[in-house]
């Protein structure tokens, strides 16, 4: 095992992060050096935090360098732990107390119009993500994390799940593609994650594997809360199997990833999107058939809000309920776009009124004008009104 290791990021452009370098020594005790732009205010606190954590991991002799750019405690402790785990085979975890805001659970039909992607190893973006009021935030362990940084990202994401206030957004994590993603579950399942995104999902079997690993961890740790799944379909095979995937246990939404899908087809993604029309419709159809939420791919041109708006309207008209986003400014546009329009609201209101009227009169059959109304239609109308109530911007 190496005697020297480092974790985290440090540099002029880096914020809210730190780099921790540890060199194990034979004697001389702990020598901690701190270089920090906030040393004057938080230097003593950082030093005592580091000492406590090093003691926890039984590190007795080492030279430690902490190069800090305003990292919060959950980041500093994650970076120290990641550095230690490269020079020691400890199984221990250094956990800060979980904040009460991060212990809530979400319902199966929680609205999931927007979900904001956050690179899992970049703490500065996580801190204020919740204030932009997305329905969900995704701490990403997959594409946004460099292969060499996967392990430290998992520890950082674990700590973020416990310590960062996301102001009511559903806490989601995108794990790595299986089988690597199964190892990610150890880091996140015990820490109140609400939903896990399973990327490049092609078969229901994969979801089964994820479910059984989650069950195993939950049983071991005696965890009671639900963990929902959102598979991301990103291939031709996945599209064909999407209904079986959608019907799998704990799956509450089906997302589509169009970059990989078009690559799989050997075609180019266009603005018009003819090449993905079938796949998108298939996802919508499979999701609705399984009574879960169909979620659209991200729109990557973050500077073009008008194009995003048009894209959302098309997505809504195809039957999607939500979309991923990669910039906070996309959130209000997405919320407004998926919100029911005035016509839909009026129509839904009439249906719900007719239902209430019939209930009051004790009628078994609900009718609006000459049309009979089925129970699912009433339920759909109620959902439309609920969506209207949360508004374009939650």
């Amino acid at each position: 095992m190496a005697r020297i290791s480092s974790a985290g990021n440090y540099g002029k452009e880096i914020r809210s992060d730190c780099k921790v370098t540890i060199e194990l020594t034979k004697s001389g005790g702990l020598k901690i050096d701190l270089a920090s732009k906030v040393k004057e205010y938080f230097g003593d606190q950082i030093m005592s935090l580091a000492k406590k954590e090093l003691e926890f991991f039984d590190i007795k002799n080492a030279n430690i360098l902490i190069e800090d750019r305003g990292a919060l405690d959950y980041v500093i402790t994650a970076r120290i732990e990641s550095a230690i785990k490269q020079v020691s085979d400890t199984k221990k975890k250094y956990l800060l107390p979980i904040i009460p805001e991060n212990t809530n659970q979400t319902m199966k039909d929680y609205h999931r119009r927007s979900r904001l992607y956050l690179p899992g190893n970049t703490p500065k973006l996580a801190l204020n993500a919740g204030i932009h009021k997305p329905d969900g935030i995704i701490l990403d362990l997959e594409d946004s994390v460099a292969p060499a940084k996967k392990k430290e990202a998992a520890i950082l994401v674990r700590n973020a799940l416990r310590s960062v206030n996301f102001y009511g957004a559903e806490r989601m994590v995108r794990i790595n593609q299986l089988p690597m993603g199964l190892d990610d579950l150890d880091h996140i399942v015990p820490h109140n994650v609400n939903l896990i995104l399973v990327p490049k999902c092609e078969t229901a079997k994969q979801i089964e594997k994820v479910n059984s690993k989650i069950e195993k961890i939950k049983k071991e740790k005696k965890l009671k809360y639900n963990i929902w799944l959102m598979p991301i379909i990103e291939s031709a095979l996945g599209i064909i199997n999407s209904y079986q995937i959608a019907c799998s246990k704990n799956v509450v939404a089906l997302a589509i990833g169009l970059e990989d899908y078009t690559a799989d087809l050997g075609t180019q993604r266009t603005a018009e999107g003819k090449e993905t029309f079938f796949a998108r419709s298939q996802i919508v159809n499979s999701a609705h058939a399984a009574k879960i939420q169909p979620i659209d791919s991200v729109f990557s041109d973050v500077s073009n809000m008008e194009a995003l708006k048009q894209n959302v309207l098309i997505s809504k008209s195809l039957g999607f309920h939500g979309m991923g986003c990669i910039h906070p400014r996309q959130i209000p546009v997405i919320h407004t776009g998926y919100a029911p329009d005035q016509n839909e609201i009026e129509k839904a209101q009439k249906i719900v009124d007719a239902y209430e009227e019939a209930k009051k009169k004790g009628l078994g059959v609900v009718s609006l004008g000459s049309k009979m109304i089925d129970a699912p239609v009433v339920k759909k109308a109620q959902q439309t009104l609920d969506m209207a109530k949360i508004g374009g911007n939650k």
């Binding site: 004057e40 003593d44 932009h132 400014r329």
Partner: protein, 520 residues
């Protein structure tokens, strides 16, 4: 001579000196409590026959002009900052003064910038005794460490005009850069090879200085009109190859921010202005040139288009954004005290509704009214605020001088003054129990807008009522502080020494606070 002596506790509860650089000063007495009744400055009475009949006041060098102006030890030399970080003139003046063996000069700039770092050598060698004007960058650092011989004296833009007009500061020689001038000294900032915009800051100087030197790199045929400086006030004209770099007027901040958090702050400001009923036809407002302020302007612009609203005037700090708004018919007038970009100059030069203003018109506390008082809303940035709405814009939390006061204090008199700030920067909370340096008394700060919520000063019951059901995240400032402290942790107190290095003057000329030496 002691830099600062005989400290007393002023009405804001701050310990301030009553003797600064050997002169008696008055401690802050409370907002609107001090109204002097004496008469103002009386300039020297010149006679026209003592000046060339052909009007030609050109001398061959700046050195000659300074010698002819009677440059002596202990004099006060003023410059203006319309070239901002691209100014060449101030450094030239003090290099010449050093060459002539001058000592104990007082530099009285309308603002200093990092480009003026060479003045540090003159402070060390005793050519310059002290600076009265904004201290930031390398100069701020130098002064913060107690290395300046005299005490720093920070005034607002309006306060600087007032100090000259009231007779508190007597300028011996005003050296005024002009992008264009004629032989008589008529001058402006919109013509010539390097135009910089309106000439708001030199007006107090040229009217009251013992001698005025106009320095230009573009001599044009008489008459140079419009004449923002009139030749009748000018003693000498100097023509040089270069007097400043207008490209450096624009700092990195004059762009709409891309930061989602700062955009959210700006959006909160705009929505607040709308909810409070301020956004309406005929409104007058001011917004600065920082990234968040520009984003605020951009949100307001969208709202005005959507609701078909037209402002009567916008005060700048003019930027291309304001010019665009006027050209789109969203405001009748721009009042322009300072240009933040070359691209505003054609409008200023050619559009009669783009009006150049001076510091007297916009900011002076001892004017018979001023434009800022008439503004419906002003959005400003700040380095720190506290739970009593007091604000700081000059020092960092460690006490180091970062920025000048600029128009910050003067803007406090507007009908609604909003401070747009992030609730923390790099783990350091911006909302404090008590600001490190008091620059604006809390009773004048109406609203503090952050990314995590909007705090309305309890004194503004009208604004609280108007925005009650707006759906905006309106919060008690103490709750917000608690949330931020939970995120960041509670920072240790900075270690500042007892030694005073500068004072902050309030707009009425009294001393509001003392800036202390930084230990490290």
């Amino acid at each position: 001579m002691k830099k600062a002596d005989k400290f007393v506790k002023n009405a804001a509860g701050r310990m301030v000196p009553t003797i600064v650089n050997g002169k008696k000063v008055i401690p802050f007495m409370g907002v609107n409590k001090y109204k002097p009744t004496h008469r103002g400055a009386a300039p020297r009475v010149p006679t026209c026959i003592d000046y060339p009949k052909n009007g030609n006041k050109i001398v061959k060098s700046l050195k000659e002009a300074l010698i002819k102006s009677g440059l002596k030890d202990g004099m006060t030399i003023s410059t203006h900052h319309h070239y901002r970080n691209g100014d060449y003139v101030a450094n030239m003046v003090f290099d010449i003064a050093a060459e002539l063996g001058m000592k104990n000069l007082r530099w009285f700039p309308s603002a200093a910038f990092p480009c003026h770092a060479p003045i540090i050598e003159h402070l060390k060698s005793g050519v310059v005794h002290h600076i009265e004007g904004s201290l930031n960058g390398p100069l701020g650092n130098f002064c913060s460490h107690g290395k300046m011989e005299g005490l720093g004296y920070l005034r607002s833009h309006g306060g600087r005009y007032r100090a000259v007009a009231d007779g508190e500061i007597h300028i011996d020689i005003a050296v005024m850069a002009a992008s264009a001038a004629d032989m008589m000294g008529n001058a402006n900032g919109v013509m010539g090879k390097h135009p910089f915009g309106p000439m708001a800051f030199p007006k107090a100087d040229v009217k009251n200085a013992e001698r005025t030197i106009v320095v230009t790199d573009s001599l044009i045929d008489f008459p140079c009109y419009p004449w923002e400086i009139m030749g009748n006030d000018v003693d000498f004209v100097v023509v040089l190859d270069e007097i400043g770099d207008p490209q450096k007027i624009v700092s990195g901040t004059t762009r709409i921010t891309k930061s989602p958090d700062r955009l959210l702050i700006a959006e909160h400001c705009a929505k607040f202005v709308e909810a409070a009923g301020i956004l309406k036809d005929g409104m007058n407002f001011q917004a600065g040139a920082g990234g968040t302020s520009l984003a605020f302007v951009s949100f307001i612009q969208q709202m005005m288009i959507e609701k078909d609203i037209k402002a009567r005037s916008i005060i700048g700090g003019s930027t291309k954004f304001l010019v665009d708004m006027m050209e789109q018919g969203l405001t009748d007038y721009i009042f322009d005290g300072q240009s933040f970009g070359m691209d505003t100059i054609p409008s200023l030069r050619d559009n009669p509704n783009h009006i150049p203003i001076g510091v007297f018109d916009s900011y002076d506390f001892h004017a018979k009214g001023n434009l800022t008082v008439m503004m419906d809303v002003i959005v400003l940035g700040s380095t720190e605020v506290d739970v009593n709405f007091n604000a700081n814009c000059v020092t960092h939390s460690d006490g180091r001088m970062l920025h000048g006061i600029g128009g910050f204090q003067n803007c406090m008199l507007a009908k609604c003054t909003i401070l747009a700030v992030p609730s923390f920067r790099d783990r350091i909370p911006v909302i404090k129990d008590e600001v490190t340096t008091l620059v604006a008394p809390g009773e004048l700060v109406d609203v503090i807008v952050t990314e995590r919520g909007i705090c309305i000063n309890p004194l503004r019951k009208d604004l609280i009522k108007a925005t009650k059901n707006s759906g905006l995240p309106i919060r008690d400032i103490k709750d917000l502080k608690k949330e931020v402290d939970q995120i960041c942790g509670i920072p240790a107190k900075s270690k500042l020494s007892d030694e005073a290095v500068a004072v902050v003057e309030w707009i009425d000329g009294t001393i509001l606070d003392t800036i202390r030496k930084v230990e490290k």
